[in-house]
């Protein structure tokens, strides 16, 4: 007895037509997937927006933290208090910005616009600084850095002095001798015709200010004179100076504990500089740079 053809048997039967149809369906399906990916950037789309993002624009995330910051800056409200219209307005602005940034990159504007180039250079440098700032050296490392750079942690010295100009070398020497013998500065000065140089105010000054006012030569001489003493006569282009020092507190390194915050900042700055030098060398090493003859 002949069995009627079952669907199983139908499937098992060889059919050239069916093979061609299945191949064609597969090919069309593949083309649709590829075309969607190529022309609409939807092909590699994620199933959902990640938790930390508020939207994805061509797979570039718009961060929730940025969205919240913008919402607060523009509308003065947090997520809880913002109206749907406010939320939509801010999100639309951020999506537009992202689209324009992506379009700018497509158009190669980083090659053409000076401000964009400067911003990119600054951003890469800043990234190195951010990485360095996030490192936390231990106390021993910081103390070593402090000891190696002790002069950076000196307080500014202070000095109170009277700078006078003598009529000639003999008067200068005589005035100095009398002051050293105990005669008051003002008396000796008037007796020998010394006048105030007018280079600095009559009062206590920081060392840096004294150096600016007196100039290097006079200040170097003055800073070596102890409190209550007078300098030797100093020859300068504007005359022979005599400097009487009433108070002199030289710079002194602050204790580590007092300047620890500055030591940490300086340590990080030093690290940033080293990282940037390393990054410069690395980028040059891996780059293919051709320089025209005569410009090497």
């Amino acid at each position: 007895m002949e069995t009627p053809p079952s669907s199983h048997n139908w499937m098992a039967r060889h059919s050239e037509r069916r093979s061609i149809i299945l191949c064609a369906i597969g090919a069309v399906g593949g083309l649709i997937v590829a075309g969607t990916g190529l022309f609409t950037a939807q092909g590699t789309r994620m199933a959902g927006v990640p938790a930390e993002d508020v939207a994805m624009v061509n797979q570039v995330p718009i961060l929730m933290s940025d969205y919240l910051a913008n919402l607060r800056a523009a509308k003065g409200v947090g997520l809880d208090k913002a109206t749907p219209a406010q939320k939509k307005e801010i999100l639309d602005q951020m999506i537009r910005e992202e689209l324009y940034v992506q379009r700018g990159i497509e158009l190669g504007q980083q090659n053409d616009i000076t401000e964009v180039r400067a911003a990119l250079v600054g951003a890469v440098e800043a990234q190195q600084a951010i990485d360095a700032a996030a490192t936390q050296p231990d106390e021993a490392t910081l103390r070593t850095f402090y000891n190696q750079h002790l002069s950076q942690y000196e307080d500014e010295g202070t000095i109170t002095l009277t700078d006078m100009i003598a009529p000639d070398e003999a008067d200068a020497k005589a005035a100095v001798a009398e002051i050293r013998a105990g005669r008051p500065v003002s008396t000796a000065a008037s007796a020998h015709g010394l006048r105030l140089s007018g280079k600095l105010a009559d009062g206590e000054e920081y060392y840096f200010a004294g150096r600016i006012h007196l100039g290097d030569t006079l200040f170097d001489a003055a800073s070596k004179v102890p409190a209550g003493k007078v300098s030797d006569p100093i020859n300068a282009p504007d005359g022979i100076h005599v400097i009487a020092v009433a108070q002199n507190t030289p710079p002194k390194a602050s204790p580590y504990e007092m300047v620890r915050d500055k030591v940490l900042n300086d340590y990080r700055t030093d690290k940033i500089n080293r990282m940037q030098a390393g990054a410069d060398a690395f980028l040059r090493r891996r780059a293919d740079i051709q320089i025209a003859k005569g410009f090497e």
């Binding site: 938790a51 940025d66 920081y206």
Partner: protein, 252 residues
Amino acid sequence: MTTKRRIIGIFVGVVLVLAAVLLWRRHVYEDQVLMMRTDPDVILSTPGLRDAALNRGRQVFAENCASCHGADAKGSRSKAIPDMTDDDYLYGQNKPSEIEQIVLHGIRAGDTKGWNLADMPGFAKAIPYTREKLPPLTPGQVDDLIAFLRAANGNDGYDEARVIRGRTMFTTTAGCWDCHGGDAAGDPAIGAPNLVDGKWLKGNGSEADIRHTLERGLAGVSPAFFHRLSAYDARVVSVYVASLHPPAKPAS
């Protein structure tokens, strides 16, 4: 058991394990979505989220923040690291959303999204401040400013004339008012501390400490953790830090 059945059994087992992992991942994702898409400023008052945030936030703090701020989050006055458990807020008003921005983008950390509006100038330098033209001060002028600040914090015994000169200096030449305000009460929008509340960011308000800050300046850095912490961890540690401070007082 035939080989065929054994293979089917292994296959079904693998599928079940995968399904369980996927379900667990889905559950974690949904928890994270809930945490991340809730206004950070209401998490502390949302019981389920609050507990999750505080539990994980405590760990994140211990791993990333405690090295500077201390395990008890009390900071260090000698190092100018703020106490996170008092009611003195240097930046903002202790909102988790504000703290989250600091965690992610830092303070003076080189991140353009971070807080980087002003530094405390050091007045015993030829150029006290590079961002704005300010004159250096003399030791005498620094003394006057110290007298004004100490007197403003309830310390007696300062010569009235010095205090008046210091106040004038504060509100004119030295430019202090520009950040700290004419009343010296500070400005949390730029991280300028209140100078008349008896609480000090660096030191304990002694003459030596105030002199050191006036002469040398101050510009503390908080790192930007944007590339080191996940957004979830940044969120929960911000909520945790906000929970350490007593609640903000209503504006008067």
